[in-house]
Amino acid sequence: MMNFFAPHLPLLDLIFVGTGYALSQAIVFRAGTFSVATSGFAAVGAYAAAILTVKHGFHPAAGVAVGTLLGLLCGLLLSVPLARLRGVYQAIASLAFVEIVVAFILFFEELTGGPLGFHNIPRAATTWTLFLAMLATMALLILLGKGGIGRAFDAIRQDPPVAASLGVNPTKYHVLSFALSGAIAGLFGGLDAMRNFSLTAEQFGFAILIGTLSAVVLGGRRSVMGPLVGTTILVLLPEIFRPLADYRQAIYGLLLVVVMAFLPFGVYDTIIMKLHNRRLARAGMLLPPKAAS
């Protein structure tokens, strides 16, 4: 069994780490914030874990733990200025945060290796570690989605003034979503470092940012499964289309456009919604809506 999977293990690693990043992105979307700061948090977590482990002799797990905490801290700090902004302005401000982190990594060469990258990181995170981290994160998000936090996030995303008029303090949940997003991205950033032997600043610029956004849009923004489905598609597609060689990128772009046009809520969320509607119809609850009263 393991022999069959062995050549594909790097792909599984990519799926698990990518899903972690996508979950970090999805949680701010769920709270109605248009932030793309995830790759910045990930960079902080990754470099913190790598530097502490390689240069200061930390146990890899301790390094990753500190990276997670630093990601959480960055989330908290960033939520203060971003709470005053809305929509596309939040996106621009969070993009600026990512650029600042990347610039910082490039500038402080002695600490981070600068443009040459940071190398010789022990490969401490096995595929199983990554899988369990992803499962634990998904479980946490499913659990918090079931209670009052999930309800508050949904209300704030759909209509902030109405949410406030029902007693929900928008700032509190805004801060909470950023703290969670930062911690999750910091965790998977640290694990990413422990998987890849080396880090470069550029990978945390547009590569992770765009990959993460695409995964969430493709898979689904609202469910916890959506990011996993989206990431899996994005990781496997280039392999499936390998024979197409040069056309791979074109196919990739085309697929994103098609999904956005025909499955606006993402592959997974759209299917779930259709199933829900069919269940209602079967229970005789799907009357012609406008004639219902």
């Binding site: 946490l140 659990l143 918090l144 079931k146 209670g147 009052g148 936090i149 309800r151 508050a152 949904d154 209300a155 759909q158 209509d159 003034p161 109405v162 949410a163 406030a164 008029s165 029902l166 007693g167 929900v168 303090n169 928008p170 909470l176 829900h276 209602l280 609850m285 799907l286 809506p289 406008k290 004639a291 219902a292 009263s293």
Partner: protein, 257 residues
């Protein structure tokens, strides 16, 4: 018996005095009416009470609580709930989910308990769900429980909005034209519910903003009349309707308006 008391409340937008300073009392156990022609400033008054706008003058008190500077969510936590003139539901969420959000004020489970869905948080959610279904029953909406709110008919959406406000178990209920676009039979049914809300149990203080004069005169214990941002009359429904100033400003010459 705490009432909502507005003292000298006024609102300026730049140089424009949108609402001139006025006093108002919304008493518990009573239905207070607020009427006036279009653009009189009725909704502005609700927005001032609920913290959407900051007051330019005056103060608002609810019992011992000073709401003059309160933000929207503080107003809601103090026990004031409102509905909107144009319906504002979460259209993609189910009817149950919409009403559940109204229960937020009664949430006691700690953040940690909610994060990990510990038993205390789960028990609370289950209890809220039960209460929501009681409300659905009262409004005859049980069959639409799992239906996306945005797909309901207009009248049913109004009911969902009302249930959401009631889920707060408010002490003050502010209804901004709750029967607009609803036929008279259905409106009368809602009127009975409003009456019951004001008088049942501890009783709520209900503020009813309305165009429909017959509905107001049948239902309200006390009526305020606003015209161009100025309070021009107040008293029992009968007094107000027969007040020549009101007739001139609001009803014009047309007797059945």
């Amino acid at each position: 018996m705490s009432s909502l008391v507005l003292t000298g409340v006024g609102k300026r937008f730049g140089g424009l005095q949108a609402v001139s300073p006025f006093d108002m009392e919304i008493a518990r156990g009573k239905i207070t009416g607020l009427i006036g022609p279009n653009g009189a400033g009725k909704t502005t008054v609700v927005n001032l009470i609920t913290g959407v706008y900051k007051l330019s003058q005056g103060s608002i008190r609810f019992g011992d609580i000073d709401l003059t500077e309160a933000t929207r969510h503080e107003v809601a936590r103090a026990g004031l709930a409102r509905t909107y003139q144009t319906i504002r539901l979460l259209p993609d969420a189910t009817v149950v989910a919409n009403v559940m959000i109204g229960m937020y004020r009664h949430q006691r489970a700690s953040l940690l308990s909610q994060l990990f869905a510990l038993p205390s948080s789960r028990a609370e959610t289950a209890r809220f769900r039960d209460e929501v279904f009681h409300l659905l029953e009262r409004f005859g909406m049980t069959r639409y429980a799992e239906y996306p709110a945005g797909a309901l008919s207009y009248g049913d959406q109004r009911r969902v909005e009302m249930m959401r406000a009631l889920a707060l178990k408010p002490e003050v209920l502010l209804l901004d034209e709750p029967v607009a676009g609803i036929n008279e039979v259905e409106a009368a049914k809602l009127g009975d519910i409003f009456r019951a809300l004001a008088t049942e149990g501890k009783g709520m203080a209900v503020l009813l903003i309305e165009h429909n004069m017959r509905f107001v005169t049948n239902l309200c214990d006390y009526v305020y009349v606003l015209d161009s941002g100025t309070l021009i009359s107040q008293g029992s429904a009968e007094q107000v309707v027969n007040d020549p100033v009101v007739v001139k400003a609001y009803l014009g010459d047309d007797e059945d308006a």
